[in-house]
Amino acid sequence: MPPFVHAHASHCESGVMASLSRHHGLALSEAMAFGLGAAIFFAYLPFMRINGLPLIAYRIQPRAIIKRLNRDLGLGMRFEKFRSPAQGTRRLDELLDAGHLVGLQTSVYWLPYFPPDLRFHFNAHNLLVYGREGDDYLLSDPVVETVVRCPRADLEKARFAKGLLAPHGLLYYATGTAAAPDWAKLGKRALKRAADTMLRTPLPFIGIRGIGMLARRVERLAEGDAARMYIGNIVRMQEEIGTGGAGFRFLYASFLQELAALTGYRPLEALAARLVEIGDRWREFALAAARMIRRRDPFDAPALAARLRGLAADEKKFFGELDAAQRAWAC
């Protein structure tokens, strides 16, 4: 195995898969990992709460990118969960000593190198371990610029954190060598999957309909601290570290451009430009919400709801066109 090379990324899971796939023989950008994993998404999940506020997801469920790329690139990934922290740590050491590059699902709260203000009990973070030295693990965390170290006790706590999306010590590693796939075939399938998820999931809180549902919820907010917390939470899910901004819309636009360049299928270029504009609308929504939180603007729930409805309409049109482009793609 060649020595491991760290790469900075905007999103943990696509960053992990880009690095892991490169390490196993196939150079892949973060954007390609994200796009081929059909990770672009929207879900408003009022029944899943962190500190009392609903989960709003702009990306597909955890591990979906890993699983899809594993299947499509033939990485031969193995996944292991553990009953006890001691077993989990022993197995991690064993794999590292055998020279494996190991991926982990962790909580961010217990990782000491994270900025204190960003340490919340969010359990679906992903990172890579490429070695150990004494009582420290050598980590490549995609959302951090450089490689970092983490003491054994902290990493163990992060891997065995409890609560929503608890990782249960999950680790994963590749056993195969990634082969260059038929990009057009994979790309077409990934586009279809993304369009299907956003337009046709038969659940009212997923995809375009989920944006509409969130708009209706926001519209009913009565001015107050609780309402300000509520809209702040939406913006955090959209903009905080690990999204690349605008709820991954720019990242997916980058994928569309790269896929167009790789396969020569030009219609994807225009779609990428369209999605960049939609990403800008998401950022305007975030800015408007932040100004209301700081009381620079009066609290105006209907205005925020109207922005969300506009976004739902834009994305409905966009994913419809994406679907049509995918259907028209003969490959």
Binding site: S10, W110, P115, P116, F120, E145, I241, R294
Partner: protein, 131 residues
């Protein structure tokens, strides 16, 4: 977002870290750019942190007045709520709430104290104290 519009506002919540974001370069390609942060992120992150700090501060006042135990203070300092502490310790929520009563907390067995200390990442001694 154009590459030159990527905010570099020195967001304090990033603690000196730079984050990777995607933006459109002059040649029209969407590329990764490092950012020192956007004020909007700082506003919403500070809002969430300050809310948890407020809960911890209020619990501390109540603990000093003898109305709650140090456990509640440490729970909020660890950015948890009763639901998460229950999942982390494997205890029922009502038991945890009961342990917020100072006399009950004072009689807590060493085993239960250990369980709370581990869940909150504290030493046994720190668990019983508020500063």
């Amino acid at each position: 977002m154009r590459e030159r519009d990527v905010p570099q506002e020195g967001n304090a919540t990033l603690g000196g870290h730079r984050k990777a974001v995607y933006a459109v370069a002059d040649d029209g390609r969407v590329r990764m750019v490092t950012s020192r942060g956007w004020e909007v992120e700082e506003i919403v992150t500070r809002q969430a942190v300050e809310d948890l700090d407020r809960l911890a501060r209020e619990a501390r006042q109540r603990a000093l007045a003898g109305l709650t135990s140090p456990l509640e203070v440490h729970m909020y300092r660890a950015r948890m709520d009763v639901a998460l502490l229950a999942q982390t310790t494997g205890l029922w929520r009502w038991r945890i709430r009961r342990h917020f009563r100072p006399p009950v907390f004072a009689r807590l067995s060493p085993r239960l104290r250990r369980r709370y200390a581990d869940a909150l990442g504290l030493s046994l001694e720190a668990l019983g104290r508020i500063d």
